[in-house]
Symmetry: C2
């Protein structure tokens, strides 16, 4: 299928490479193609510039957000949470309507340093904001509660652990669950929480995720909901 990844950071790259590996036709969307290809510095996390990564991942297209979202079967939002709505605005409803979007982003606010805070919380979430702004886009919140390498390779952490899914459209959730299974997620470890308001719950996992990352000294961990 045709898959569009919004965002050129490490999350976008990791999901794009996995999708390509699985045989999909992958296009990455970015604000300005030329600027993205001309960047020569590493990013804030020490990842190589996009062009360097792109050269070793041939066959993945790079287009503007709008062009990348135009003719596709699935959109994955891997932009920074604070700019996701603006990116989707720049694509426009007529292009987004009727499509499925996996929202991987978290509304992390780094303006007061580390660890970042969350905005919004409690009465809203980024997943809901996107769904409300684009009522005919089928938003499915998922994969936002773990390290990006684990998203596409659940076996990286041994034993059972979960990926959460929520959204208002059942067909879109089924589509996303199939994608997750193709990534290696066992069906019974995909936890469907219900409608998109549940994104408040999964986004609010980030504060303890960040603290566990610090306490454990590794990002190779995940939440497992242990039941009888």
């Amino acid at each position: 299928m045709k898959v569009t990844i919004l965002g050129t950071g490490i999350v976008g790259r990791t999901i794009a490479a996995k999708m390509k590996h699985l045989g999909h036709e992958v296009t990455i969307g970015t604000r300005n193609v030329e600027n993205t290809l001309n960047k020569a510095e590493k990013d804030g996390y020490g990842n190589p510039p996009f062009s360097e990564w792109h050269q070793s991942n041939q066959g993945i297209k790079l287009q503007t957000f709008k062009d990348a979202a135009r003719n596709t079967d699935l959109i994955v939002n891997c932009t920074g949470g604070q700019s996701s709505v603006a990116v989707l605005e720049s694509i426009g409803e007529e292009t987004l309507n009727g499509k499925t979007l996996i929202d991987v982003a978290n509304p992390l606010d780094f303006s007061n340093g580390m660890p970042p805070s969350l905005s919004p919380v409690n009465t809203d979430s980024l997943g809901e904001q996107i769904q409300r702004r684009f009522p005919q886009l089928k938003v499915v919140k998922s994969l936002n509660t773990m390290n990006t390498f684990l998203m596409v390779n659940p076996g990286m952490v041994k034993g059972d652990h979960n990926v959460f899914v929520c959204g208002n459209d059942d067909a879109a959730k089924r589509q996303v669950k199939e994608v997750l299974q193709s990534f290696g997620w066992r069906e019974d470890l995909i936890l469907d929480l219900g409608d998109i308001t549940n994104a408040r719950g999964t986004e609010m996992l980030l504060p303890i995720w960040l603290r566990l990352w610090n306490a454990l000294g590794t990002a190779e961990f995940n939440f497992h909901i242990q039941t009888n």
Copy 2:
């Protein structure tokens, strides 16, 4: 040891009964002893009135908050999160200073219906508020991320799952970890996150906990941090 439980609700009762069963001298603190004993109705969750529970749990004392906290080795805060600071204020610093308090409460705000929201989040937590108001009280946030029956009986959920601990005083944390082990928590499943600011992370687990409760149809579950 002498253990003081603040709060007569189901959490306070459950921890009090377990402490008594473990051989400790247990006192429950309440605002007004007479009113607590005279209540004849079930609580909002369908639990029997305190006096009924108290009759089948002989040997557990009931005193005012202040009296109960006076001569004790360990205080457990099981009051509602929105009133915890006021309860501790009513006890006063001179009584609290130097003691260890396990803060089990969550700052749940039910004023807008279900599911409750959290107040505060992000830049503060109930655990921190208590620690800041009573600098010489040794606050350890723990047990607030699960159903109360599981707190004192971790085997109720099969397999591995975690209890979190955080606080500023290492000796107090060691004391609390010993209590947790006496409840049945295996040492390697007690996760020490660090100082009391980590209470923001554990308190923010409540929103997804409440949604999982709904999605799974049972409160018999817990978070397990799966690592390699």
